[in-house]
């Protein structure tokens, strides 16, 4: 009733619920653990390496190859005569040849090949996981075994219901297989020329040319599964046969489904002239000029309105240089610049000049520090100030050009009647207006740093503080009203954002005895920021503005609790979200501006930014004789997490966590919510889920404090234990090394949020980070 006051048909009868709970007849009253049914727990991977190197005065060579096989965790249907499980082979090949052409000239040739072969189910692992989560557990079995009377059927009898429109994860996974092939080939030539003897002492030239070809295709072969439902014999009350639900759409034969195809060609060239010399033993001067050039051509797989733009080469070009002066290894000054060209702007704005300056002081080289050595073995202060330009203002290429579709079927019209004949005309649509004014986004940054080394470098610390001001941020003009009738947003370089932060790294190494050593390290970063300017409409209330807030600050409603009943709803401020009427058990929000309605004027900044402001890590490596042991923790802090209480997020293309949502592919219900939700029998105003509904209601899926959680997290990321076999034993078996190891990743996490891994964000039913245990032997011959 509370789910839908208009619906008179209960989905499951009491009889069905009782018999399913009893579990006596799984064919008629199934209770399927889909995840368990489609997956296996253990799989194997193999990894082989080969390396050869050698050479002499004239040339050196180095060849290495590597081969890995990963097997998936999915089950395979025995009736199919193909294997739909994941098998992923990767082959890497690397060859370097260094040739000394003259005494001062060196030529390097590198060849790199990376080949990836993937065979697997038609849906990816992530998709398969999601399908298992959204298959109905009580309406049908994944697959049925036909009796004698139907033994002529040569295809799997996948279970389904009604007209066969329900999602059956098992059928989706085993109904075919897909192939993906990727190859990356790269050829690189480098030339080093020492110009010391030709022009002047300390002058060098370096040139590099790289050609990369990437190709990728995927394709799948799938059949359309036939779905069945058991038929009950009215006399024996047992299953007599299976009835085919989709005779029209099922097929026994495989169909070909083309997938993504991509071919890319990249040419990259780099030339550098550098000069490095010390005069009078005290004045160190170095300077260099680098120019780079990159050309990437890509061929799109589909013919669409963007294909012309996609085929155009992507090009970048840059000149950069730096000059530095060091006095007596103590004082250091530097000037660098970048002069960058970007294809993303109109002709007048394509080139940007971005300089930066830096100074440093190595205090430990000063005379007065000599007394403190070796307690303080390194102390250095650094400061830089500079500008950087970003041309990455939009996902769209050629943002400055208008994008007009002169042949848009969706914006056309048809004249004439079906009987008399019709006249179809395509129309014109504008996806983007020409924007000749758009320009580089620029950030101005100041860095202050310190490097400290103590006890001959056993303890090192390095810390950096930065202060950044980013301006000319491209944003949509908010002040243009809908009544102008523009079809696309107009964007301009308007926004300003300032941020600051700190990064630090500390490490300590200690050898206790000949056999025992420790090495510890820790990292810490903190960053925060706020908008200084952001174009907005004239808001009625100050707290609606984004200015002064972090770029990842969420705005939403303040949830008070759940409404106790319908009467309370009628006597409270109206909550205007459209959709279904608000009823008892729905979330009650605070009327922040006290105007008697809850609407977008009641949204305030809630929680901390969704990206953590603090991230840190620490770990230890230790060894004793032939054993070694290491672990590493990583953590996140000062962040909020928002549960996504919807069925499917169209923008993110991810499924939310709201129960049910769709009849044919309902989201699984988490136990916490099954245990605590508002119902008419149990009007718990502090329940963890509001009134249940088949599809989430607009009122309950608003971003609010009801769904906000602390996103802090500390994770034991990696643990390794290894044992290296004794050299004398190895020699007997003519091996170079043998290591037996055990490693685990993502072993534990500590977090105030317990429902799922906070790194999944609000999408708790997403593919979880896996806890992996590896046991292996590594042999070197």
């Amino acid at each position: 009733m509370t789910r839908n006051p208009l619906s008179k048909d209960a989905t499951y009868s009491l009889e069905k619920i009782d018999k399913t709970a009893a579990g006596e007849n799984p064919t008629l009253y199934p209770a399927v653990d889909w995840l368990d049914f489609v997956t296996r727990k253990v799989t194997t991977t193999q990894n082989y390496n080969l390396g050869i190197s050698g050479g002499g005065q004239l040339a050196k060579y180095n060849v290495s190859a590597n081969y890995t096989t990963d097997n998936g965790l999915l089950k395979v249907e025995p009736i199919n005569d193909f294997n739909s499980n994941v098998r992923f082979n990767v082959f890497n090949f690397l060859s370097n040849v260094d040739i000394n052409l003259t005494k001062s000239t060196q030529l390097v040739a590198r060849v790199k090949a990376n080949l990836q072969d993937y065979n697997g189910p038609p849906s990816s692992g992530t998709e398969a996981y999601g399908q298992a989560i959204r298959s109905n557990p009580v309406l049908f079995q994944p697959v049925y075994t036909p009796g004698e009377n139907q033994s002529y059927i040569k295809h799997p009898l996948f279970g389904n219901f009604d007209d066969g429109q329900y999602l059956n994860a098992y059928a989706e996974i085993v109904k075919g297989y897909s192939e993906k092939r990727r190859s990356n080939l790269s050829f690189q030539t480098e030339l080093y020329q020492d110009l010391s003897s030709i022009i002047t002492e300390g002058l060098k030239f370096r040139g590099l040319l790289n050609v990369t070809r990437r190709s990728y295709f995927e394709q799948s072969r799938v059949y359309n599964p036939f779905y069945y439902t058991p038929v009950i014999d009215p006399v024996t009350k047992q299953v007599s046969s299976y009835f085919q639900l989709n005779p029209q759409t099922g097929t026994e034969y495989l169909n070909f489904e083309p997938g993504k195809r991509e071919l890319t060609a990249v040419v990259y060239g780099e030339a550098q002239v550098s000069y490095n010399r010390t005069f009078a033993q005290k004045h160190g001067i170095s300077a260099s000029l680098i120019s780079t050039l990159r050309n990437e051509v890509f061929t799109p797989q589909d013919q669409d309105e963007n294909s012309l733009i996609k085929t155009l080469p992507k090009r970048n070009i840059s000149f950069s240089g730096n000059a530095s002066y060091i006095f007596d290894e103590r004082y250091y000054a530097q000037f660098t610049f970048g002069y960058n060209g970007s294809e993303k702007f109109a002709a007048g704005s394509r080139w940007g000049f971005f300089p930066s300056f830096g100074v440093a002081w190595s205090v430990h080289k000063e005379k007065f520090m000599e007394g403190l050595w070796p307690t303080i073995s390194n102390l250095r202060f650094r400061a830089t100030h500079g500008w950087i330009g970003y041309d990455n203002i939009s996902d769209e290429r050629f943002f400055y050009l208008s994008k007009v579709d002169l042949n848009d079927g969706g914006r056309g019209y048809t004249f004439g009647l079906p009987k008399t004949g019709s006249y179809l005309l395509s129309g014109v649509s504008i996806d983007r207006y020409a924007n000749p004014f758009v320009n580089w986004e620029i950030s101005r940054q100041t860095n202050l740093g310190i490097d400290l080394g103590m006890f001959k470098g056993a303890l090192t610390f390095s810390g950096d503080f930065y202060n950044q001001f980013r301006y000319n941020i491209v944003q949509n003009r908010a002040a243009i009203p809908a009544s102008t009738g523009l079809q696309a947003p107009v964007r301009a370089n308007l926004g300003e954002y300032k941020s600051k932060g700190f990064e630090g790294e500390l490490s300590y190494t200690k050898s206790v005895t000949k056999d025992l050593y420790f090495q510890g390290r820790g990292t810490f970063t903190y960053s925060t920021g706020e908008y200084v300017y952001y174009e907005e409409p004239n808001f009625q209330y100050d707290y609606l503005s984004r200015i002064g807030l972090h770029s990842n600050q969420v705005r939403g409603y303040i949830a008070e609790r759940l409404f106790i009943d319908d009467n309370e709803v009628f006597n409270s401020p109206e909550q205007q979200f459209g959709g279904e009427p608000v009823l008892g058990g729905d979330i009650k929000y605070v009327d922040v501006n006290k105007d008697g309605v809850i609407n977008s004027n009641d949204r305030v900044p809630i929680g901390l930014p969704t990206t953590p402001e603090i991230s840190y890590g620490f770990g230890l490596t230790t060894g004793y004789k032939s054993f070694d042991f290491s672990f590493f923790f990583s953590g996140l802090a000062r962040t909020s997490l928002f549960i996504n209480p919807i069925y499917y997020d169209v923008d993110d293309e991810k499924y939310g966590v709201a129960p049910f949502g769709s009849v044919a592919a309902p989201n699984a219900v988490l136990q916490v919510w099954a245990d605590s939700y508002w119902s008419e029998e149990h009007q718990d105003i502090y329940a963890r889920w509001p009134r249940l509904s088949q599809t989430p209601t607009n009122n309950n899926s608003q971003t609010s404090t009801f769904w906000m959680r602390n996103g802090n997290l500390l994770r034991l990321k990696q643990v390794d234990i290894g044992y290296n076999l004794n050299q004398s034993i190895l020699k007997r078996y003519k091996m170079n090394g043998l290591r037996i190891y055990f490693s685990g990743t993502n072993l534990f996490k500590w977090s105030p949020f317990k429902l799922w891994d906070p790194e999944l964000g609000g999408y708790g039913l997403g593919y979880p980070l896996q806890r992996v245990f590896n046991f292996g032997i590594n042999i070197n011959i």
Partner: protein
């Protein structure tokens, strides 16, 4: 040594000069808006764009006319969301200012009718520059765009009352403040709309000449009819002296709704209606009459009349009654199945027949009695007993409308022919051309054991009423889910 440095610098400068070329990768003829007016065929596509934003008549979810005033009802909010059926949620009292349902005004540049007006303005500005067109055709096309611009303004006025008048576009990169213009009082809005239609009128075709390319286009017949409708709307108490709106004022304190009722607006509206009707008659537009095919037998006294009603809406042939067809949104399979009762032909399952558009009791009530009087006013009609069960007498006068000997509510008996021609209900009969004889019309039993029982969790009428006039009488149902519909065009 300088020579040597020059040797290095020379290639660098050479590289610099060719760099600008290197990053200029855009070919010269990337499509821009000017291309739309280089050729007559391109301009014709732009004219189609001006028509494009007309509300699609088959869009049951997105048009206020289907749901917003209780005309239809759906079976469950779980099956039919506010996103897809905003009109129905208005009927449920969910209209709100926070996230308005049926939001034609739009936010952040999404307002469909404003975009349409923008398109029309661009077209009117530029169509005269098309080189390969005769002047008279440019004038006619511009007049069509002008009419459409007025019509879009009218659609906005009808929904929002006082609106901004956008007779010309603001340049895209103008300062945003230039587009912050005040709303105009309702009377001035209507004046602008009527004036614009009048300006376009003389350049329009009188009536379509080539049916294939001109049915659906704006002609003088259309423009006069629409003008009459607009003037009736302007004269109606909604916009004529609506004192409910006396607090709605502009920044200078002037009321946006005229607060004095003006009788003269009705005189103007009546004159416009008369002119539109006379002009339509002159061009052979008149009330529609159904003609029976040769192999079809008509016995019932009202069959002709009932089929006149049905085919005037869903006839496949050009009906003489329709002045302005919506030729873009053809009422095909997807649309007609929503109105078709599932189970009309018992030997087929027809899971494709969605069958969820339920007409409301409120609407069924509004049809008159057999005496042509509202049922609550007809002294001979047993109004108080209308919901009691009764058995249909086996008499000739009921035979073509109801199942003889069938038990249903009194409410379904003794109603006007429009009731039987329009609605399908429990105990009624459903006539299709394949019946060959109106005596063989299909009996419809809406009870849970009957042929029109709810047979799918989503596709059933929640009210027990369905509307016949949206289902073409020539549709057929075969075995194995086969369902062929005859497509037709609705009118605006």
């Amino acid at each position: 040594m300088y020579k040597r440095i020059l040797l290095i610098l020379f290639p660098i400068t050479l590289a610099m000069s060719s760099c600008n070329k290197f990053i200029d990768v855009i070919p010269d003829n990337v499509p821009v808006i000017e291309h739309a007016f280089n050729l007559r065929t391109e301009a014709e596509g732009y004219l189609a764009t001006c028509y494009n934003r007309l509300p699609a008549s088959t869009n049951t979810g997105g048009l206020p006319g289907y749901f917003s005033a209780d005309e239809f009802w759906l079976n469950s909010t779980s099956n039919y969301s506010a996103g897809a059926y905003p009109g129905w949620y208005i009927a449920q009292g969910q209209q709100n200012s926070n996230s308005p349902l049926l939001n034609y005004w739009g936010s952040g540049g999404s307002g469909t009718y404003w975009q349409a007006i923008n398109d029309c303005n661009v077209f009117i500005e530029r169509v005269f520059t098309v080189p390969d067109m005769e002047d008279y055709e440019k004038e006619r096309w511009a007049a069509e765009a002008k009419f459409l611009k007025a019509y879009y303004h009218y659609l906005l006025v009808r929904a929002y009352g006082p609106i901004i008048i956008k007779d010309e576009n603001v340049p895209v990169f103008a300062d945003p403040s230039e587009s912050h213009v005040p709303r105009v009082a309702v009377d001035a809005c209507f004046d602008y709309i009527v004036k614009t239609i009048d300006e376009a009128m003389p350049y329009l075709l009188e009536v379509e000449e080539n049916p294939i390319i001109e049915i659906g286009r704006v002609t003088q017949v259309v423009a006069k009819a629409v003008k009459a409708e607009i003037l009736v709307e302007a004269a109606s108490p909604l916009f004529n002296g609506n004192t409910d709106m006396q607090l709605l004022k502009d920044d200078n304190g002037n009321p946006l709704f005229n607060q004095t009722y003006d009788e003269n607006k009705w005189v103007k509206a009546a004159a416009a209606c008369k002119e539109a009707i006379d002009f339509a008659h002159l061009h052979n537009k008149k009330l529609h009459v159904w003609t029976s095919p040769a192999n079809f037998t008509v016995n019932g006294p009202n069959t002709q009349y009932k089929l006149n009603l049905r085919t005037a809406v869903s006839g496949e042939d050009a009906s003489t009654e329709t002045l302005w067809y919506d030729t873009r949104s053809i009422a095909g399979l997807g649309f007609q199945t929503d109105f078709t009762p599932r189970g009309l032909v018992s030997d087929a399952n027809h899971s494709g027949i969605t069958s969820f558009m339920g007409a409301t009791l409120n609407m069924a009530q509004k049809f008159y009695s057999a005496n042509g009087v509202p049922i609550d006013e007809d002294k001979t009609y047993p109004y108080a007993a209308r919901y009691e069960l009764t058995t249909v007498p086996n008499q000739n006068k009921y035979k073509y409308d109801l199942i003889a000997g069938y038990t249903t509510v009194r409410f379904h008996l003794d109603r006007e022919p429009r009731f039987y021609g329009t609605l399908s209900f429990d105990g009624g009969r459903y006539l299709m051309l394949f019946n060959k004889n109106d005596a063989d019309a299909i009996n419809t039993d809406y009870k849970s054991t009957g042929n029109i029982k709810p047979s799918s969790p989503t596709g059933y009428t929640n009210t027990g009423y369905m509307v016949k006039k949206y289902v073409n009488i020539g549709n057929t149902y075969g075995s194995s889910n086969r369902h062929d519909v005859v497509p037709y065009a609705l009118s605006f």
